[in-house]
Symmetry: C2
Subunit: 110 residues, 2 copies
């Protein structure tokens, strides 16, 4: 039905999936990479840097902000975006614990 049944999963499973989903689009990867490089960037610069419309960039920024990965300072009519390093590390670590898990016992069949 296209509707993810979030209620049958654990908190951790839903949180991991939500975090991963934020990185699951090349536009958001590109935005994050650019912000890491310049570490201070207004929305308009991102529109020029990446080949998408201002409206679309704004939507992707919103998703990244919802996860707490970005923070922004208002500078006149523009907003300067940066990576929220502290939160980035929290989110990043949470995902990396999952990525670094090992099998509890060696496989007997494969």
């Amino acid at each position: 039905m296209g509707l993810t049944k979030s209620e049958i999963y654990t908190e951790e499973q839903n949180r991991l999936a939500n975090i991963a989903k934020a990185f699951g689009h090349p536009a958001r990867v590109a935005i994050l990479q650019h912000l890491f490089k310049v570490n201070a960037c207004v929305c308009g610069d991102l529109v020029n840097e990446i080949g998408l419309s201002q409206a679309t960039i704004s939507q992707h920024l919103k998703e990244l902000k919802n996860l707490g990965l970005l923070k922004g300072n208002i500078e006149g009519t523009s907003i300067c975006y940066c990576i929220d390093i502290e939160n980035w590390q929290n989110v990043s670590t949470y995902l990396q614990v999952f990525l670094n898990q090992k099998p509890t016992n060696l496989g007997e069949c494969c």
Copy 2:
């Protein structure tokens, strides 16, 4: 238009996004967690373990296989799935390089 414009992104950006997308659904997180725990598991067990139909589980397994995260051995009428540890580590490391990047210069505004 609902169509991701992959051609405007770098190889790396597309690859990172594809990897992240595989982890971007709680059912796939749950499947991977279970496989890590028991390290050998047929599809039917996953259907019981997770509350989804056999058809849906099979679809999710396909996506994980496409990324090379799983390998399977045929055992009679059933298939035994395991984590492909070597490939898991390749994929995992690729994503973690991205997650562990640092800003090149300190932000001046945020």
